[in-house]
Every structure is written in C-alpha cells, then in structure tokens.
Symmetry: C2
Subunit: 289 residues, 2 copies
C-alpha cells in the first residue's frame, strides 16, 4: 500500500498504540487502568466501537497471564465520548492454554459518578504457541486490487456520512461493488468489502484486529438504510497473528429482520490466512421514506 511505503510507524510506536495506551491507576491495585478516549477515533460524535475494544483488549492483555485475545465478547451499554475513562478488569480463570477475564469501561457523569459504556468477556491465549496445522475450507474474499478500490479521496465518499476523524487514521479502500450507497445507488446486498490498513503504516497485530472488524461502513448502507446502526453485541475471534501487509475485510449480513441485523466480518492477511472472524448484532436504522 502506497502509504505503507511512505510511513514508518511501527507496532508499539504508532498513532494506534498511543491512542490505545492504558496505565495502571494504582500499582497496589491490580487490574484497574486509566485511559483516554481520543477524539481522533470518532464517527460523527461517538467513539468507534472497535477502537474501544482494542483499548479494553490492551488492558486485558496486561491483566491476564496470556498475551493475545482469542475470543472477545462485548456488550455495548451506552455511547462513549472522547475523554477520560477507567477500565476495570477481573481475572476469572487461569489455565495452561487459555485464561478468561472480564472488563468494563466506564466514563464519568457530570457529578463524577462512573457510567459503564461496555462490558466484555474474553478468553486470552498465546497465538505463537499454537500448532501450525490449518485445515480451512474458507476462501479469501474476492476484492479488486487496492489501487482499483475507493477511498475517501475518490469523491463520493465511502467515508461514513458526517464522520471524518477516524477516516484520517485508517487506510480503507472499499470494493467498488459495495460503495453504491455512497452515490445513492445501494446494491441491496448486505455486503461490504475492502482493504484495511492503519494510515500511518503501522502493521496489524491481534489488538488492531479488534479495531479492524468494526471499522468499515455498516452493511445496512448497501441495504439502502441510512443512519446509525448501533452495535448491541460484538464477538471477535482472533485466529492467527496477521502477517505483515494489507488486510482484506469482508462483511456480510444475511438476516435483516425485526429491526435487527447481524454483521459477520472476516479478516484475511497477506498470506491468505483467515486471521479474525467476528459477528455483531446491531439495531437497524428505521427505514426512511
């Protein structure tokens, strides 16, 4: 990707790493972390749910004996806003292969009381300790070459309407077949596909995958629905440490019913490995006439 060549941000020294930093509040109190929700990761006025997940994931990676998120289930309780937050973690189980933890991210009401934004249950392990055996029948999504896909600079913006901050931090190029919504001609299919990278060229890792699965525009746009699609619950499985290079993301919605829809995301790396799978249940925007 062009920007990768130009930039030199690295894992540990990048916008994403700085903006997802967490610090132990009190060295004598394990598992409680201070964080700052950065305005740079907002969509319209809300903080992106994947960015929040990466932040919580970093806290859990510090609190648990295993380093990598294997399965992270997040329930979104109230919209997060830029500003200070506290993440409280709890270790539920410690095993040889996996450990399980819980985390809650809180912000503060005007009177200073804590307001919970997200609650997470997560199983952590060590991706590098897994056997190499791969027996997958899944196939990478068919996406045109990066240079043939469309980004915010390509006119009718595949950026989410009204948003800008997060798009400056991401290098997303959408498959032209899934950007009809941006020119008022949604395909009617519940599909969104594209290339994903961090704008400063920082390589992907298990933490950034938690952002990747929730970073593309919602499939509801291609289903002809405008407006906000709030996530109720999002579960992500990180299956493999991503190889260097751009990621391909394919999101599918098969069932829009009763005012809710699921979004299934697959993330593939440059070595054609399925590195993450996620599914979220989201509230569909009300159809507008």
């Amino acid at each position: 990707m062009a920007q990768v060549a130009q930039e030199s941000a690295t894992i540990g020294d990048s916008e994403f790493d700085r903006d997802t930093a967490v610090t132990l509040r009190d060295p004598h109190v394990p598992g409680v972390y201070e964080a700052q929700l950065c305005a740079g990761w907002t969509i319209i006025s809300a903080v992106n749910g994947g960015y929040l997940l990466a932040l919580i994931g970093r806290a859990l990676g510090d609190a648990l004996p295993h380093p990598d998120p294997f399965s992270v289930s997040a329930h979104y309780l109230s919209p997060s806003v830029p500003g200070p937050a506290v993440i409280r973690t709890e270790t539920l189980r410690t095993g040889r292969t996996l450990s399980t933890g819980q985390a809650s991210l809180f912000q503060y009401a005007e009177d200073g009381t804590e307001v919970e934004r997200i609650r997470v249950l997560a199983a952590y392990g060590d991706l590098d300790a897994l056997p190499d055996e791969v027996r997958t029948t899944a196939k990478p999504p068919t996406i045109p070459p990066y240079e043939h896909c469309l980004g915010p600079a390509d006119g009718p913006a595949p950026a989410i309407p009204g948003s800008s901050a997060i798009t400056d931090r991401l290098d997303i190029r959408l498959d032209p077949a899934t950007v009809g919504w941006a020119v008022g001609a949604p395909s009617g299919k519940g599909e969104m596909r594209g290339w994903f990278g961090l704008a400063d060229g920082r390589a992907a890792d298990p933490l950034s995958l938690l952002l990747t699965v929730d970073a593309l525009p919602p499939t509801s746009f291609e289903l002809g629905l405008k407006g906000w699609t709030p996530t109720v619950e999002l579960t992500t499985h990180v299956r493999c440490r991503p190889a260097p290079g751009p990621l391909r993301v394919a999101i599918t919605t098969r069932n829009l019913a009763g005012g809710f829809l699921e979004e299934d995301a697959e993330v593939w790396d440059s070595a054609d490995r399925l590195v993450a799978q996620s599914r979220q249940l989201a509230k569909a925007p009300l159809p507008r006439n």
Copy 2:
C-alpha cells in the same frame, strides 16, 4: 414428527421446563437463583452446554425487565456436573427496547466453596414487540425429509459416542450426508445438519433455542477428529420466536486452525424463518493416529 403426535408436553409443562427450573434463593435478595443440573442432560459425564445456557437464560429472563434472549454470550470456565448450582445475575442496563444482564453459574467444591462454571453477558428484549419486516438473503438448509434422516435408533449411532442421557431427551435426526463419522467414514467437510425437536414433543421457544444451537454432534466428527471438543465461548442470537413444528439446524465449520475451530449454527423453523444464529469457538481434539 412422529413423537410430536404421540406426546403432549407443552411449554411450561415439559421435561425441558422442569429441568431448567430456577427458584429465587431468598425473596429479599433479587437475582440469585437455585438450580439443579439434571443428569438427564449429560454428554458422557459433562452437562451439555446448551442446557446450561437455557438454565441461565431462564434466570436472566426472570431477573431482567425484558422476557426474551436476543444475544447471549457465554464463556465456559470449568466443566459442569449434575447436582446443585446457584446462578447469580446482575442487571447492567435497562432500556426501552433492550436490557442487558450478566449471569454466572456456580457449583460447589467438596469444601463447599463456589466454583464458577460459566459466565454470561446477555441482551434481552421482547420478540413479540418487533416489527414484522423481514429482509433476509439467508436460505434454509437443504435437509432430507425427517423420515429419511437418521436417529439413535437407526443403528450406527449419530449419538455422541459414549453418551446416552441427553439423546433420550432430544429428537434429533441427522442428515445422512453428515453422519459418515458414525460409520468410520467422515465426509471431511465441517458440516452437521439435522432435524431437532424435544423428545416429549414440547414446542420450541426462545429458551429452548439456547439448547438447540449446541445439541448436535460437533462438526469435528465429520472432519475426522474423534474426542471431546470443549466450547471456549458460545454466542447465540435469537432472531424470531419459533413457529410450532420441527426445527432444522445446520452447523458449519470453515476454519480449523491452530487447534481451534469455530462452529456456526443456524436454526430454521417450520415457517422458514431464521430463528437463531450462533457461533462458538471450540478447542479441537488432538488428531489421533
């Protein structure tokens, strides 16, 4: 289904309802429930994870202001055994459309201390209050007629090896295309399909769907792997109240890698509605030579 005609168990008065009953431990302490894990729902020696989920789901349905599970994320911490259990619930959020709760199921060590078996985060709503609009591209699975599918009585048992108790309570008929494993000839495809009903004819409801998604033999059998496939995490979305009549269940595994696999389950009702979707991350059995 033949047995439905013979039996007359009803929702509220059935084996499933009796065995998933929960009672408030203390009328003055909301949200804490006593339960009995029944030996009738075991696979080999472990209590079935879907049965446990239904039990916890019943407790949450009582504790939360909304009646129906919409999204239930469960992390399995230690194997449950038949006997007494306590379920502790916590209400995290109460909204107009959805409320969110947490629940933990504990059993007791020999010294009486509580041992946590499962922790759950769940969003509850009211399925009957949802708009009727359905825009799904998902198609029901192609499964031969019930009478052409295979049950435990049909010789080479599609029952899970070594287990019997739970199979007496379920009326599962597997698609012959997915029972090769039972005669030592697994298809090599990560697929398991069949008809699902409760043996006493009790109709399906949102609670029993939590059992249905985890009741078929694991897809790993058809992938040629023998042995236990422990669930790490299982998330279920109930999308619609099931119509009366038998259910069709299709489970797919697309990625077996690094010793883990996902199992995606779809449950369809007699009205061709997609009533539940689930995904679990499970540990693959070690290949045997």
